[in-house]
């Protein structure tokens, strides 16, 4: 079948205030293809797709859809016309039923009386439920009930609801924006199935992901963006990991990506310990010991309890039974954990690890108040600035000045600020939940090296991650969790592969 162009983006520009997000970007998406988009954070991939899908408008350039000029008014409008996007962050409304989410913004369709499109029409709830359930069944998500309150679903199922919300319109073009990072294998498989079906039906898919392997498996062609510019487009046969990576960061990758050695040795002193802790379905008589100078990797599906484990280790969640011991004594909560030199970088960075509406300075300083405050009370601007500046320099945070608001930083730099906040105060034990989530390769590498250095300095690190590669790459000891239990423990070894892990996750 002829690979006709369905979506054409021509010389698009987009700027946010002073920063240029897109600079003269042109892409062609063909029918029967899965078009991959890849690039570091802030490279502009999400911006392109959000413009195509009508979430925001471009400042310059044109777009064409099926040969016609394409100027979407809203996502809903675009979807009606055949371009739908599954967004990166949560795209469902918690407070309403699944069905209402699926038909969000067009409940008006279900009239009791009155004509189609009549404004403030009444809504026929029964009918809506029926259609919604049918839609759920067709993509194989029958376990979700249409009348269920969305809040009661887990991350994964909410994503599925979103997918239904899009697919019910059977779009000509489907955009999948980093959705998979949030999903377990099952979820991913559902998405892959959908993408492939669309491909067979001679429709088009735009697929964005950080996961190089994933994207190389799925896509037929792959466009690399950097700093808002198109760098290069590879077709399937040209795919080559190294090349793609270099074109992404724009330079040869120096030195090791993960750590080089494979000796999983560490101190024998137990610094942090969980003793038969129970917490709902998140932890079931759970036991874990973390030693001095050890990197412990925790892997599993997104809701296997490992994220809760992170909070428990930091004292932010109290287990219903059992205990958390730090250097042998009971841990009494966050403040106490900080006294004991524990640091915690949460998965939901923007909400849990940073105050976006505050400056870099505030965010770093707040972690170290007891470090630079005189008598742990008096804050002298001079001392504070010195402290903060040191962290910014050590981690080479890219920013105009320390008083710049964090909200203006890229994902990678945000994470650097978080690291600065915890490392700055000399944390001995770091609990890092998805430390490299949404962080681009360049920064990733730097962070891996940093972690390794810290291990060498005798600090202990717990990496909780959904990216198995980095766990295998970094951990001295690797734990696979499922349903709040430890399913398997791997020592560090060269031979360990992702598939070894996966079988214990599912």
């Amino acid at each position: 079948m002829g690979k006709e162009v369905i979506v054409e983006v021509k010389h698009i520009d987009k700027r946010f205030g002073s920063t240029i997000a897109l600079n003269d970007v042109s892409i062609e998406v063909r029918r029967g293809e899965i078009q991959g988009l890849i690039g570091e954070n802030g490279s502009g991939k999400s911006t392109v797709t959000s413009i195509i899908s009508g979430m925001q408008k471009a400042d310059g350039g044109q777009m064409f859809y099926q040969g016609e000029k394409w100027e979407p008014l809203s996502m809903l409008w675009a979807l009606e016309k055949g371009i739908g996007m599954i967004v990166q962050e949560n795209g469902t409304v918690p407070g309403i039923s699944v069905a209402e989410n699926i038909f969000l913004g067009e409940t008006g369709r279900f009239k009791v009386f009155g004509k189609e499109g009549k404004k403030w029409g009444t809504v026929n709830r029964k009918e809506m439920m029926k259609e919604a359930q049918h839609a759920l069944d067709t993509i194989g998500a029958s376990h979700i009930r249409a009348e269920q309150p969305t809040a009661s679903l887990d991350m994964q199922d909410r994503k599925l609801v979103e997918i239904v919300k899009i697919m019910i319109k059977n779009p000509e073009v489907l955009i999948v924006d980093e959705t998979t990072t949030a999903l377990s294998q099952i979820g991913r498989d559902i998405i892959y199935k959908i993408m492939n079906r669309m491909k067979e039906e001679n429709k088009a898919v735009i697929f964005i992901s950080h996961d190089l392997d994933e994207i190389m498996n799925v896509c037929d062609s792959l466009t690399v963006l950097r700093d808002g510019k198109i760098i290069i487009t590879f077709s399937k046969e040209e795919f080559d990991e190294e090349q793609i990576k270099t074109s992404m960061i724009g330079r040869e990758m120096q030195g090791d990506y993960y750590r080089g050695d494979y000796d999983g040795s560490c101190g024998d002193e137990v610094v942090l310990e969980v003793k038969d802790a129970n917490l709902g379905d998140q932890l079931k008589n759970f036991n874990l010991q973390i030693h001095k100078g050890e990197i412990v990797g925790v892997g599993g599906l997104s809701h296997c309890g490992m994220h809760t484990l992170g909070k428990v280790l930091f004292g932010a969640c109290k287990p219903q039974s059992g205990s958390v011991l730090v250097r042998g004594r009971e841990l009494k909560g966050e403040a106490d954990a900080m006294k004991e030199q524990i640091g915690y970088a949460a998965k939901d960075r923007d909400v849990e690890s940073l105050c976006l509406n505050a400056s870099i300075r505030d965010n770093i300083a707040v972690g170290g108040l007891d470090r630079f405050a005189v008598h742990n009370f008096l804050v002298l601007p001079g001392k504070e600035k010195k402290y903060v500046q040191k962290q910014i320099d050590d981690l080479s945070v890219k920013c105009a000045e320390m008083n710049q608001y964090v909200s203006a930083l890229s994902g990678g730099n945000k994470q650097k600020v978080v690291f600065g906040k915890w490392i700055g105060r000399g944390s001995e034990i770091l609990i890092l939940d998805c430390p490299t989530r949404g962080v681009d390769i360049g920064v990733k590498q730097a962070m891996y090296q940093l972690m390794y250095r810290m291990k060498k300095e005798g600090k202990s690190i717990v990496i909780i991650s959904e990216e198995m590669a980095e766990l295998i790459g970094m951990a001295d000891r690797l734990i696979v969790m499922k349903d709040g239990e430890i399913k398997k423990e791997f020592p560090r070894s060269e031979s360990l592969s992702e598939s070894d892990m996966i079988q214990y996750m599912i």
Partner: protein, 331 residues
């Protein structure tokens, strides 16, 4: 089947529990003092008037508070709308129904205006509502040169207070409100915006008209409240410097009660029952001739205790601090 019955039973129990309890306690207290709760017709009227006006106020307050919009101005809207309608009707010698209609219309317009100001200046609603409250109070004062409006002698208008009329108001108010919010596109989009502002907007739901409509509806409701308050004595007293916000506070207890009952049945019905509960309390105060300062303290205690109870189930925080947490997340 059995479990189903159980559920239904549980629902009915949960729904009725609070007002029933309130009724019993009030009854006991009164009979302890040898007072009959409902003696004169006046008592009945008081009860239903309180229920009606409090219910509507609760609707008006909760409707915006649920979406994190705190509105100090509802009191002033009811004041001004009643002033407008009363002045018109007394000067033109119009009867009750037109006055009610004018009140509603005026209220709606006033509500819409404050909604418009809100969407235009895009300031936190709490600030806007402060300004609007001052403005409307001032306007009401200016219109009447401070005299307020008095039509005590106008038996046509002052004949409105009657159990039947108030019951009708309650029924219509409830039905219309339920219809608007549970069975229309507007209602569904409202719900979506409440809990998922960002997503809803990205999906293409228009927030601005929705918000304006919310304020308009709240205004209309307060128009009715203003009408009720005006016709009960045939006088409208002026208030300045936020004198009008008092009305708002009558709605908090019923709102929380409603929020609680909302688990077992439609939340709006919950609000009605909440209003009825407070109406019982007011009636008791009147019957037992309770001193004003005691009333205030007792009411406050009831509020706090109820909240303390609720909070163990973690419902209210959501309701009230919605605004604050939302801010943190979205900004």
């Amino acid at each position: 089947m059995k479990t189903k019955n159980k559920n239904i039973f549980k629902q009915i129990a949960g729904t009725a529990a609070i007002p029933a309890a309130a009724f019993l306690i009030v009854l006991i207290l009164c009979s302890a003092r040898g007072v009959k709760l409902f003696e004169t017709e006046g008592n009945w009227i008081l009860f239903f008037r309180a229920a009606a006006s409090v219910m509507l106020t609760t609707f008006a307050l909760s409707l915006n508070l649920n979406s994190g919009r705190f509105d100090f101005s509802i009191g002033s809207v009811s004041l001004l709308s009643s002033v407008i309608s009363a002045s018109i009707c007394t000067s033109l010698g119009l009867p009750t129904i037109p006055m009610l209609i004018i009140s509603i219309a005026a209220g709606a317009v006033l509500g819409m205006v404050s909604g418009l100001i809100y969407v235009i200046v895009k300031l936190p609603p709490i600030i806007v509502s402060l300004g609007v409250a001052l403005f409307y109070e001032g306007l009401a004062f200016a219109i009447t040169n401070g005299y307020g409006v008095s039509f005590v002698a106008n038996t046509e208008l002052t004949s409105f207070p009657s159990v039947l009329n108030y019951v009708l108001i309650i029924l219509f108010g409830l039905l219309i409100f339920i219809f608007l919010f549970d069975h229309t596109k507007f209602g569904y989009e409202y719900k979506a915006l409440v809990s998922g502002q960002k997503v809803a907007i990205n999906t293409g739901i228009k927030e601005v008209p929705n918000a304006i409509l919310c304020y308009t509806i709240a205004g209309a409701l307060m128009g009715v409240v203003g009408f009720i308050r005006a016709t009960q004595t045939g006088t409208i007293q002026m208030s300045l410097n936020f004198g009008s916000i008092g009305v708002m506070f009558t709605a908090f207890l019923p709102m929380f009660i409603g929020g609680f009952i909302g688990r077992f049945c439609n939340e709006k019905i919950g609000y009605l029952l909440g209003a009825i509960t407070t109406a019982f309390i007011s009636l008791m105060y009147a019957r037992l001739n309770v001193d004003a300062s005691i009333q205030q303290i007792v009411t406050a205690l009831i509020l706090v205790c109820f909240l303390i109870y609720l909070n163990n189930e973690n419902k209210v925080i959501e309701l009230v601090t919605l605004k604050q947490y939302r801010n943190k997340k979205t900004k």
